[in-house]
Amino acid sequence: MEPKKLNWQEFFIPRLIKASGYSAILFVALIFFFLLREGLPALGEVKLGDLFSERWYPIESHFGVLPLITGSLIITVGAMLVALPFGIGTAIFMAEVAPRWMREILKPLVELLGGLPSVVLGFLGILVLSPFLRVFLDLPTGLTALAGALLLGGIAVPTIVSIAEDALDAVPYSYREAAWAMGATRWQTIWRVTLPAARSGVLTAVMLGIGRTIGETMAVMMVTGNAPVLALALTSIFHPVRTMTATIAAEMGEVASGSVHYHVLFFIGLVLFIISLIVNVAASSVVFKSKKRAERVLS
């Protein structure tokens, strides 16, 4: 009887496994389909000129998404100004400078930050960071784009550090040895040999960091003050703003399913989905390309 049972297993299980393998494609397609289904009607219900206007006030049917887009932009740029130097600096320190024992301590700590729920960081943002900013910078409120950018910088750091460190680690040791043998200092080797050799991986780290920042919801919603005003000037960083993600999270609970407001919120979700699609396809194509180059060099 044993062989028969085996045949049954050998027939079904690989097919089941194969189907599971393809499920990722199915889910991306499903997500895209539902965003289109619920979001596209917005284009018919709101005039394109009104949709890309500067007034977001859904109660009076003003659905201008520009303030939300500029809000997301200013916070993402601010967060990157924080996360890039600190994230990449920490990655270089861990991969190239720190002794082994220190690395063993730093790595779990950075992973710890990656594991902290964003709602906890938002909570501390309300109780600790924004009161500090209000007093320190003498602002009317601490719940500003700046608070959001600082928190998001922290949230993007673990992504950037772990990917950039992997990329630096992957640079063959012989590259460094060659540079040292030519008389370069370790510092010069880092900037002129290791970092350029790892640049595609570091670029991936940066892009995925940006993706993570644009998509962050809870922490941003809690600390940015949620005022949908156009953020175009540099001083906007000291004012409350509101991002695309926070708008969806704050308003979706209260709209009637099928209303114009509901469709517009799904439309914003569609825009976010497409942004993350572009960022991730770009990031992964950088990886694929550099892999191909490595294969060419090695063969």
């Binding site: 599971s20 990722a24 594991g115 729920p117 993600t245």
Partner: protein, 287 residues
């Protein structure tokens, strides 16, 4: 002159390394500070009542039991859907798939799933599970939403663990007359299990701490009883922390910090378990 330029280079290196050290410290120390701060501020709130009682007085007193139980159920529900599917997908990618364009599309899809904003998962879950499939705002709908979000983490970690098993193990099993599935089930999977388990726990840890995907799919603002079925909505720790820190006026700080402490204990506890499994497996491994 030459000597001078040499010491100049050394000076630059020393300054540069100091700067990098400083950058790393400024990055890492706040992490420790955050965790220590929540522990010290939240510890006074810890009591048997806080952990095992229902909330009272509009959540301003009593305990947070329904939120703890809710997060436990949501994590369990996420595991039920995402673990078998994720491991099976990883087996496909590591053991069956050929490197062709279709496999590449699967990989791109996985990378994209990992990058989709959590609030967009919330929208999708609401569109598909809550409204289209009529599950309502429920543990079932929220768990399914979280499962899809967790899937890429589990797939990538499991695939890495499976690929780390030396090819020779498979060759020996096949040469002894084992079939492909027997080889995977009896040889490859047991060897990769600690790595898979680590990935699974890290994925579920993320799911346990997420708020945005459950906002419109299963989270209840205030529900002073334990959920009775998978079709009930539920309170959850992350959403509860959001509610009491932004939506409820005159909320005692102690309860807020206490809730934050329970949440990070839940999440970091899973993190520590994963780390222990990983390091023990590494110590035992013979290849």
């Amino acid at each position: 002159m030459k000597r001078a330029s040499f010491s100049n280079r050394d000076l630059i290196q020393r300054l540069g390394f100091s700067l990098l050290t400083l950058v790393a410290l400024v990055t890492v120390l706040p992490i420790l500070a955050v965790v220590m701060y929540i522990i010290t501020e939240g510890a006074p709130a810890m009591s048997w009542e806080f952990l095992t009682a229902m909330p009272r007085d509009g959540m301003r007193a009593g305990g947070i039991l329904p939120a703890i139980v809710g997060t436990f159920y949501l994590t369990l529900g996420t595991a039920i859907f995402s673990v078998p599917l994720g491991i099976a997908a990883a087996i496909y990618l590591s053991e069956y798939a050929r490197e062709n364009w279709l496999t590449r599309i699967i990989r791109i899809a996985i990378i994209n799933l990992a990058g989709i904003p959590s609030v967009v998962y919330g929208l999708f879950g609401m569109g598909l599970f809550v409204i289209f499939l009529k599950f309502g705002t429920s543990i079932l709908a929220a768990s399914l939403t979280l499962s899809i979000m967790t899937l890429p983490v589990i797939i990538s970690a499991s695939e890495e663990a499976l690929r780390a098993v030396p090819q020779a193990f498979r060759t020996v099993s096949i040469s002894l007359g084992g079939t492909r599935w027997q080889t995977i089930r009896r040889i490859v999977l047991p060897q990769a299990l600690p790595g898979i388990l680590t990935g699974v726990i890290l994925g579920l840890e993320r799911a346990a701490g997420e708020t945005a995907p459950i906002l419109f799919t299963g989270a209840a603002f205030f529900l002073p009883r334990l959920p009775g079925s998978p079709l009930d909505a539920t309170m959850a720790l992350p959403y509860h922390l959001f509610v009491i820190s932004t939506q409820v006026p005159e909320m005692p700080f102690q309860i807020q910090y206490g809730t934050a402490l329970v949440l990070i204990a839940f999440v970091l506890g899973m993190n520590i378990i994963a780390t222990v499994i990983r390091s023990r497996a590494r110590a035992k491994r013979q290849w």
